[in-house]
Amino acid sequence: MTTQITSARPAAGPRKGPRRRPAAPSATTVGRPGFAWALPAAVFFALFAIVPLIMVAVLSFMTWDGLSSPQFVGMDNWSRLADDPVMLKSIWLTLLLTVLGVVIQTPLSIVLGVWAAGHQRNRAVLSVIYFIPLLLSATAVSVLWRALLDPNFGIPAEATWLFGDGNLFGEQATAIGVLAFVSTWQFTPFHTLIYQGAARAVPRVLYQAAEIDGAGRYRQFFHITLPQLRNAMITSMILMIVGGLTTFETVLILTQGGPGTDTTISAYYMYDKAFRGFDYGTGSAIALALVVASTIISLIVVRVSGYDKMRSSMEGVS
């Protein structure tokens, strides 16, 4: 990344001359706040995340229906889940929805974010309208779309050439499509916001230099904007992946995991087991598996992308 920028930088070379700010050495001498600063957050996190997580881990080795006292059952919950076809299917569905989310939302949000970072006429007004889905709760969004997609009185009834008999929630492929679409509709604005901020932060000089070199708009986009958005892209993708793995309300309200178990993703299956089947042990096991999986996947993304090293994409630019 850094080297790419440096090598694409000959035009900026002449500016090297006078060193205006000897910034680097003094930065290291600034004192960091002590651990005490992190204490309130740490206590809060421990109390509301770590402690419950440990409880869930313990509960996943027990059987409990909420009425009698919990009983230890060893690995029973886990071995039953390992053989449960619905559980296995739910993992694939979760991954599928997550991948769909990343693949659809990323290009859309980049394009929209870069556009929204500009200074065109009406941009502010259009952006505001576009950000509205972000302000609605996932529940409201899901209720809204379930009504809009009613086969007899909703959009499908007006566009039968596209939707056929409109049985969107009655078949697996279309039900998954609806879930992916609704998440996209709701969360693209949020990721657009990330990209908008990042695109605004790209130094103007890079574009000015590129213009002098005769690069057109598309070359500027692919050779300056996109590489400069790298860190924003990683941030946004991690949020999308973790968000995708834990999607819940959309499924609860739009499909209830149906038809049958065709859209039962892991987080919904956990709810189904724990709060509808009153089998808190199995529910806890699914929850714990989800926490572990999300953590591992996030770590992998962070590692592979080099996000952990937090290299600046603007090194060497004024």
């Binding site: 869930v56 009698s68 009655g170 949020l239 968000g243 049958g260 509808r276 089947g277 808190y280």
Partner: protein, 434 residues
């Protein structure tokens, strides 16, 4: 971001509850219901009927030394929250439930007070109610609940104009229904509206067909733990008839995308795009809210048709029999509770319920129907329920609550063809019965 925060929060809530509950389970035995504030706590499902419950509580508190406090839990989460508090010191003295399977686990956990002592002292607590309704809160031969709201039998509703245009009479028998389905299809309307997205409306077709073909015995056996009932010839016959009905296009093709709860199927019938809909008696007030003009002039209703050659009595009904008050064993004021339950068959109670459209199931209801808001409709329902040899409680409420999710999956999958009859039978046999 929001979804990201959701899982930890769910986990946290679950685990905190787990903590609280396991702690209280350990420190069991100090059993003062809702602390020791000397009051009776009554927990009810929060909705529009609460105003009647408040009124009854006020009436009771005027004369009683032991006061009643009404606690409400808003709608959908009722059962989940009840199950998490019922074995803790925060548990109420008296609580709302659906009878049947909804209280069976509590009886098994020895949490509920059998009401036979109350009834011995005051037989009216039993004989003031219609037996078919009262019996749905009897578990292992002992009564555990007193009916406290209205009955909601499932009826076959229709759009009068649509039926007339197709030259169809409201069907009295299964063959007439099949005939009507054919004629309505020829007219280009969906014969029967179905909110399959909610699944429980689909379940109503299973309840009635099983009852008509096998009689109430088959389901009674199955829910009692004899799983062979699902494999019987009658069971297979009922499934075959459901399959034929679905395959004939009676419900159209997109029923799984339609919901009752968001008004989809309701509008289908009101707009004349469908002929029939099988739904609980609350359907009338739903139509009255959504489409008042249609409800008053265009909506017809009949009992579910008879099935020729079936073992079940055609006068049997299915649906939600009523809601019940059950009493916790650890209540400190059983005498006051017994006094409070007496009010559930008082004239004042019956009148107040009828005024808001709930059809009570007390024997004195009869005398008040003519003065109610919808005398004709109330009379039809009351006679139906009073004359019914058996009232089949909705399947998902007759089974323990924890079975309902898997039951719904099986019902939806059989209906849309993802499961065949054998697959459905296996799925039903796998349901927990206690």
């Amino acid at each position: 971001m929001k979804t990201r925060a959701r899982l930890p929060r769910l986990v946290a809530t679950g685990a905190t509850l787990a903590l609280a509950l396991s702690l209280s389970a350990c420190g069991d035995g100090n059993g003062g219901a809702s602390g020791d504030d000397g009051k009776i706590h009554v927990l009810v499902y929060g909705d529009a009927t609460n105003k009647v419950e408040k009124k009854i509580v006020d009436t009771f508190n005027k004369t009683s030394d032991v006061k009643v406090v009404l606690d409400t839990i808003p709608g959908a989460d009722y059962q989940q929250k009840l199950q998490t508090i019922i074995n803790t010191p925060q548990a109420p003295d008296v609580f709302f439930n659906w009878g049947g399977g909804s209280i069976k686990p509590f009886v098994k956990a020895d949490l509920l007070l059998p009401l036979d002592d109350f009834i011995k002292k005051n037989p009216e607590l039993e004989n003031k109610f219609l037996p078919s309704v009262f019996n749905n809160a009897v578990v292992d031969g002992k009564p555990y609940g007193i009916p406290m709201r209205g009955t909601q039998p499932v009826l076959l509703f229709h759009n009068k104009k649509v039926l007339k245009d197709a030259g169809v009479q409201p069907p009295k028998t299964w063959d007439e229904l099949l005939d009507a389905v054919g004629k309505l299809k020829d007219k280009g309307v969906t014969p029967i509206a179905l909110g399959g997205g909610d699944v429980w409306p689909t379940q109503m077709w299973f309840q009635y067909l099983y009852d008509r073909i096998a009689g109430p015995g088959l389901f009674e056996k199955a829910v009692g733990g004899d799983k062979s009932a699902w494999e019987s010839a009658d069971s297979k016959k009922a499934l075959g008839m459901i399959r034929d009905l679905v395959d004939s296009g009676a419900f159209g093709k997109n029923y799984d995308s339609v919901k009752y709860t968001n008004g989809g199927s309701v509008q289908l019938v009101a707009a004349g795009k469908a002929g029939f809909e099988l739904m609980g008696s609350w359907y009338y007030s739903q139509q009255l809210t959504d489409h008042p003009e249609f409800a008053e002039t265009g909506l017809g209703y009949t009992a579910f048709p008879a099935v020729e050659g079936g073992k079940g009595d055609a006068a049997n009904v299915a649906g939600n029999t009523n809601n019940y008050y059950s009493v916790m064993k650890k209540t400190k004021h059983p005498e006051a509770v017994a006094e409070f339950l007496k009010l559930m068959y008082s004239d004042d109670f019956v009148k107040s319920q009828l005024d808001i459209g709930n059809l009570t199931t007390t024997t004195n209801t009869d005398g008040f129907i003519d003065g109610s808001a919808t005398p004709e409709y109330s009379r039809f329902q009351y006679d139906l329920v009073a004359d019914a040899p058996s009232f089949q409680l909705s399947w998902d409420q007759a089974y323990p609550q924890k079975a309902s999710s898997d039951m719904h999956k099986a019902i939806q999958q059989f209906f849309n063809g993802q499961l065949d009859a054998d697959g459905f039978i296996k799925a039903m046999q796998a349901l927990p019965t206690e």
